[in-house]
Symmetry: C2
Amino acid sequence: MTLSGKMNEKQFLAAYDKSAFDAPLLTVDAVLFTYHEGLLKVLLVERSNHPEQGKWALPGGFISEEEDKTLEDTIIRKLKEKTGVVPPYIEQLRTFGGATRDKRGWSVTVCYTALIAHQACESHIDTVSDTDWIPVEKAKKLNLAFDHLKIIQSAHERLVQKALYSIVPAYALPESFTLPELQHVHEVIIGKPLQKKSFRRRIEQADLLIEVGEKRTEKGRPASLYKMRSDSGTHKFVRNLEL
Amino acid sequence: MTLSGKMNEKQFLAAYDKSAFDAPLLTVDAVLFTYHEGLLKVLLVERSNHPEQGKWALPGGFISEEEDKTLEDTIIRKLKEKTGVVPPYIEQLRTFGGATRDKRGWSVTVCYTALIAHQACESHIDTVSDTDWIPVEKAKKLNLAFDHLKIIQSAHERLVQKALYSIVPAYALPESFTLPELQHVHEVIIGKPLQKKSFRRRIEQADLLIEVGEKRTEKGRPASLYKMRSDSGTHKFVRNLEL
DNA sequence: ATAATAGTGTCTTTCAGACATTATCTA
DNA sequence: TAGATAATGTCTGAAAGACACTATTAT
């Protein structure tokens, strides 16, 4: 039947059959970063099914029309399956699509970047055999499934920018952390040392952190512990740090 | 049949039937901006079909698995239908999706922001009766189809940021333009006057434009004409202008 | 000459870079 | 006390804000 403009909307909707149209495969994937053992790591999953069986891939999957109301619901559900928890930072990266990125045909994947403290999901990940934290630099050398290498690179590039004008990387740390720790996360992300004074000054001036105590380490002067203010993840400095 | 891990990939792909899975509706839309008569305008199309028949909507549509190799191909094809030309600036904005944004069911739309000179498509748009340039502030007050209001707001917010740290808004002007014109485009986008000296100084220091002649206007001193360098659309100033 | 617009000079302010110095802990 | 790490002091430099000033056109 033709979907003529002569019907009213109710009739149109009753007659409408989505599956009559050939649509690309649609998935949602995430690049979940954490900071552990001095390295920036990304969560990868070993594919158990075709296509690309056996290769490492980003966590993600198909939208569930029953369980998910939004795209974020989908990625939260998928990340929870792998990590047991919902990451404190989730932001859409971009959508990758094309005729050749998946052997099954035209495909589209809506990608998210997420950050989480390593300790927050350590125990759960140990129980999931096909999932592991891989250092980003190592992941970039693996033979990853689909175009997931390109997606990880894209997520990393964006995270570098965020490290230069925000303190978003703090979400890769536990709820309380020291300034030297946070600075090191930034340095690992951008791959370059930063001026301690510049780093601390701008955070103090923007009043982004709350002091919550003191940390005792094995050697040297103890560092103060801080936690983020509720809105400090959205703060953007007007001037970038040098790359 | 079950898609078992026991098959090899060739067998798997031969047996795979995309349409066996219920998938969300997938479209690609664009927020195409231009600068005309001192205003920032956005291209809207009057919907001729259900759902949301008769309402203004963003240009866009379904992916064609035959005609399109990439998502950009899709949006370029759709914009060419409406404007007759390919905009010089196209960048992915973000993807909007959810169970309720379209009455036909779960839907996802990959959105792009694009910029074009008004004169570049003026003649073609006059021949397309259902398409028109609407001032952004006016569009925000219309009863737009789907969640297109939210999409336009999101695109505008992103464009404000770009106006503060780049000269991307220049793509909303003809190939050659004057600095006062470019400054006014920025001011219209961010909704606030800018310091003439600051605006010009940073463009000159970064050497982003090439002088191509002189423009004679009806009154006052004539302004120099400039065109963009090939890569100046990607340049980011380290420091933002004040909002 | 006047009005209008384009473009420059220059002082102030802000904030990051550089790096020396001081503070506080353990062994 | 020495060694290590945290935290601060302070000078320099780069770039934006503010705004007065000069330049070039039409009438």
